[in-house]
Symmetry: C2
Subunit: 347 residues, 2 copies
DNA sequence: TACCTCCTTGTAAGCGCTTACAAAACTGCT
DNA sequence: AGCAGTTTTGTAAGCGCTTACAAGGAGGTA
């Protein structure tokens, strides 16, 4: 770990200077700051006055060393583009704050990975850590999981490490069935690369399952990434192939929005000419016209559950190894359904 | 600070057990882990083997105490709804990571404030801290600023505390002038409450300035909050008044999107019947039709600058007290301009 | 072989706090 | 006034690491 050199040594007050100013022992100051143990009112007032006068701020590292806990949880995410990870982080932070824990956040590098060095540095300062699957090498995860609580959130499963995630297969099956049964679509295509992430793979599994249950063979997915630009690329490919489809089931909302935009630019109207669906229910999904039919995930709840599970383990409690949170299909105009009166998406 | 009680004491390896296993002193282990000072290759290999075998993870708090630095920066934000704060956080985290620093994040409570207790707890564990203006009481900010580097980011200015922000007045003047001069709008109304936040106040100042430069008196703004629901409320009020306007200059994109949606539901077309503009240039602004004319802010750069400025101060370097980053008007369909061929918004 | 220089490594103190144990002070009763 | 019980407060060790200083070893030269 490299710290800046020649940094000035802190000149702030410590528990020793507060004790001296208040005329008590450092143990008494500690009791006042922590609100633990009995301290007489007169003594407490003297200590608080000294704290105020000296602008004393406790030193978290010293306390952490003494109590043998960091009182912090770590979270590793790829980025915060799009609302999914923001939502996850908000849930995680809120639950951690309720338990009086700090949150240390590390975001992946531009290649969507986190070096073992950076991961180790994060792990050094927390009691428990949650990682989006696939960002940190499996071996590093397993190694850290041997010494402190570690959970994988969504993303890639690491053998031997517990994972919390939202359900994909069932809702994807329902979504695809909706297109086939309720809207008469017959040639849907999956837009996304099942090999990129387990969540995408599971969404594709649901897609295939719905088709095969109706005796229809699923074609090859259009293998693109999960960014807006990937949605554009997907449409270019489909157009080059003569657009052999009447419904696009996209792996997330971002590519669904880009897909819809690019189709419109090419003269193909959604849902008239073909249907488009997404996944996540981001805010934009509610505002575009037609509104985007998608799958809503309880991301904030997932984040909160992860933090609570980690804290429980840090506290020595046994918890369920893994969990899958339910998701739900939200029908809007882009599949051919009537728009809700006012977007009924959860808020 | 309340830590969970009855927590199991860590059974993990420490530098002492690694030293014993490797047959060296703890100083040598420390030299290997830090890569500081010379260590012979044979000794290093022995230490690394012991580290691997014992699953040793360094203890950040112990090091922090020894080197007298937390090697972490703190950031206080209200929430991560909408992309603005996510973008700010990504910029902040990336710059901090480049300097080998951890990021501790605290999000405000539901009332958009952070208690002095939670703020003090965060401050206890970081070398420098950045706070969105208005979340933490001024007195607590000033007090902490006396003992460690502290910066306010955007939001409310705290007297005596440096602030980094993005420019509002000039771009708001330009945006409003564009409506008046280029699109012939004559009765624009500002949607947002200038008393909520200094950024909103400055945007309103720009709005008023453009009008008064043309001898037009600005009417009262429609004073609503900054959430989607507030946009709906604004339109209801305007409709109740007979919609006495031909252009709505909204304080942010979220209310602009909600405004546009609600107007359409009431039979008023944007930009035909009236123009709508926003602020921030969130992703949704690019995808709605018509595309939202807005003001794009370099939020990620702002976040990164804040982290770098904090780190510089932590390192004892003097930095400029404050900074204002430029913003720019992005013209799309919602003011009456032609849509760009493909959204040219920065990415 | 002896001495000098340089490199590697060990020793030991301290960073700022917590808290078990014990000492001191306080209160109430005889 | 003295004693017993309770409450408040002080003492001192330790948490896991860093690193200044010094010791020990290695290498080269005379």
């Amino acid at each position: 770990m490299v710290a800046s050199s020649a940094a000035p040594v802190p000149a702030g007050a410590t528990i020793y200077s507060v004790a001296e100013a208040a005329g008590v022992s450092i143990a008494t100051v500690s009791r006042v700051v922590q609100g633990s143990a009995a301290v007489s009112e007169r003594t407490r007032d003297k200590v608080l006055a000294a704290i105020q006068h000296l602008d004393y701020t406790p030193h978290a590292a010293a306390r952490s060393l003494a109590v043998r806990q960091h009182e912090a949880l770590g979270l590793v995410l790829p980025e915060l583009d799009g609302p999914y990870f923001s939502e996850l982080l908000m849930g995680f932070e809120e639950a951690a704050a309720e338990d009086g824990l700090s949150v240390l956040l590390s975001l992946a590098d531009h290649d969507r990975t986190l070096s073992v060095e950076r991961f180790t540095r994060l792990a050094a300062g927390v009691d428990g850590i949650a990682v989006l699957g696939g960002i940190v090498p499996d071996e590093a995860l397993r190694r850290t999981a041997r010494t402190k609580p570690l959970l994988v959130v969504a993303g890639a499963q690491t053998p031997g490490v517990d994972r919390l995630t939202a359900e994909n297969v069932t809702s994807s099956t329902e979504l695809t069935a909706h297109l086939l049964d309720d809207h008469g679509r017959s040639r849907p295509v999956f837009v996304g690369d099942p090999d990129i992430a387990p969540d995408v793979r599971e969404r594709h599994v649901g897609f295939v399952r719905a088709l095969e249950a109706r005796g229809v063979e699923a074609g090859e997915p259009v293998r693109v990434g999960l960014r807006e630009a990937d949605g554009v690329v997907a449409v270019e490919r489909l157009l080059a192939d003569g657009l052999p489809t009447d419904a696009l089931v996209c792996a997330n909302d971002e590519i669904a929005l880009a897909v819809t935009d690019r189709l419109a630019a090419a003269g193909h109207r959604v849902p008239d000419d073909l249907a488009v669906t997404g996944w996540d229910d981001i805010m934009a999904a509610r505002y575009v016209r037609p509104g985007l039919t998608t799958v809503q995930q309880p991301v904030r709840e997932l984040g909160a559950l992860v933090a609570r599970r980690l804290h429980a383990r840090v506290s020595g409690l046994a918890t369920e190894p893994s969990a899958v949170l339910a998701t739900r299909v939200v029908r809007r105009g882009s599949c051919g359904c009537p728009e809700p009166g006012r977007d009924a998406g959860p808020r």
